[in-house]
Amino acid sequence: MMTSSEVLLEIENLYTAFIEPEGTLEALENVSFKVFQGEFICLIGPSGCGKSTLLRTLAGLLPPSKGEVRLRSTPIKGPERAAGLVFQQPMLLPWRTVAENIALPLELRGQSPAERQQRVAELLEMVGLTGFETSYPQLLSGGMAQRAAIARALAQNPEVLLLDEPFGSLDALTRERMAAALLELWQQLRRTVVMVTHSVEEAALLADRVVVLSSRPGRIIHIIPVRLARPRDPNLLLDPSLQSVVRELRQALKQGESPDNGRKPSPKT
């Protein structure tokens, strides 16, 4: 457990509701947890339970209706540069090359081309895209595009990397490779990560702790520590020790699905 290390993010009694013409839609209810420096957190939960909402709140894109989110004890009040968010879609600008896309955060901060070039080369190397700097994103495979998106998020040197189902749109094999690459990247960087995923295997392989949310409105039903030794190896996916974590996560997820089927998309409350 990482209790000894410093608290990076503190989510306290977070309640988020969307006011719609048809009524109020509660997305998150009473969510509280802490994220420690250098920790890898996975968020899992039924579809529509508010995982993206939670991540957007952590990025400062969405103000909480009630409660508070603090980064190093300072409440997050607006878009937060210390948080690097990667969406389910890579969201690379099609008129910029891979290198130019990764350089965007640096450019907006007014770094000189020379400074940028060096940093971009490092980042490309980090995500294994060296040699693709002058390619346009349209030419990249889904997995490569998503790695470029991760590199762009890392370019701003965020204290916490927020990943919203970054591999959701990839095929199973690529997805597994990406998870392995992310594992290696994280073990190298030791950056704090909060990642939403639908795959319990991915969560078990990558996370230090898995936060399990109930169906909407999302409440935390479990925070499950993954007691698998670090550094981990992607081959662990086949290991019985990981399989038992996976079983545990599945069990927890089942509990969170309310009997009257919370997955109904009906926005009425």
Partner: protein, 265 residues
């Protein structure tokens, strides 16, 4: 078959040889029509190719063709600049202010339905037979396709991209410079190509209504004097002008939007 498909979807450019072939076809039809017409009648309505070429060279030699073309070009250019500038400013305003959008939308829709050329006589009364009235007709014709394209282009920027820029705490200027301009450029250039090509029409209509120079004036003059070779020369020059505008804008589009052709199959 493959050739045909390529030509229709506009991805591949037909070879110059084909242009020559279609030109030859037109000249052949022309010559055929001359033969079919009676000798007395054809003098008035259809000049021979040789007559047109001779007239063209003569007008070119005494500098009058250049002068008239220059005037029409000036009207087109100023109209294009004025129409584009106004459309860009208003397009941006409409896309960013709900109030302005609601205020201007009915006006824009109504004026889009209005045939602009019908305004030309009115503009001639208001602004006289000089340069201004033609520039205004051109500008109005250019204005709407660009305005519509730009404001809808701005409105359709992916919200994901906008969140990326918000997250990076981009300033308004940065968002404009790095997101809105490049994202809207394709739509803008489409509008510009449509508008730019019809700018020639605006200038000619303006000159028809009231003028003392310009290619439209030459056409009108030719009509009054039954001088069909003159009309042919002026019309062909106008066509070349519009084609050149279209070609130049297309070239700019390909240069600026290189990224767009990539990855498209």
């Amino acid at each position: 078959m493959g050739w045909h498909n390529k030509k229709i979807n506009g991805q591949q450019h037909p070879s110059p040889l084909l242009y020559l072939l279609s030109l030859g076809l037109v000249l052949l039809l022309w010559q055929g029509a001359l033969l079919a017409l009676e000798d007395s009648a054809r003098r008035f309505i259809l000049p021979t190719i040789a007559e047109v070429v001779t007239r063209f060279l003569k007008l070119l030699g005494d500098g009058s063709l250049v002068r008239h073309t220059g005037i029409t070009l000036l009207e087109m250019g100023l109209g294009l600049a004025l129409g584009t500038g106004t459309a860009l400013v208003l397009g941006y305003a409409v896309a960013h202010s709900r109030f302005l959008a609601h205020l201007l939308e009915p006006i824009i829709v109504t004026s889009q339905a209005m045939p602009i050329v019908a305004l030309a006589p009115l503009l001639a009364i208001w602004f006289g037979p000089g340069l201004v009235s033609k520039v205004l007709v051109c500008a109005l014709i250019v204005f709407f396709p660009i305005l519509v394209n730009v404001s809808s282009g701005l409105n359709h920027i992916d919200t994901g991209f906008q969140q990326v820029f918000r997250l990076l705490e981009a300033t308004r200027w940065q968002r404009f410079r790095w997101l809105e301009v490049p994202a809207t450029l394709p739509a803008f250039l489409t509008g510009l190509r449509v508008g730019g090509t019809s700018a020639a029409m605006g200038a000619v209509v303006g000159e028809f209504v009231a003028s003392s120079a310009g290619l439209g004036y030459l056409v009108k003059q030719g009509q009054n004097l039954y001088d069909t070779p003159l009309m042919f020369v002026a019309i062909l020059t106008l066509t070349l002008l519009a084609l050149a505008t279209y070609g130049a804008l297309g070239l700019i589009e390909r240069q600026v939007l290189k990224w767009r052709c990539i990855g498209k199959t």
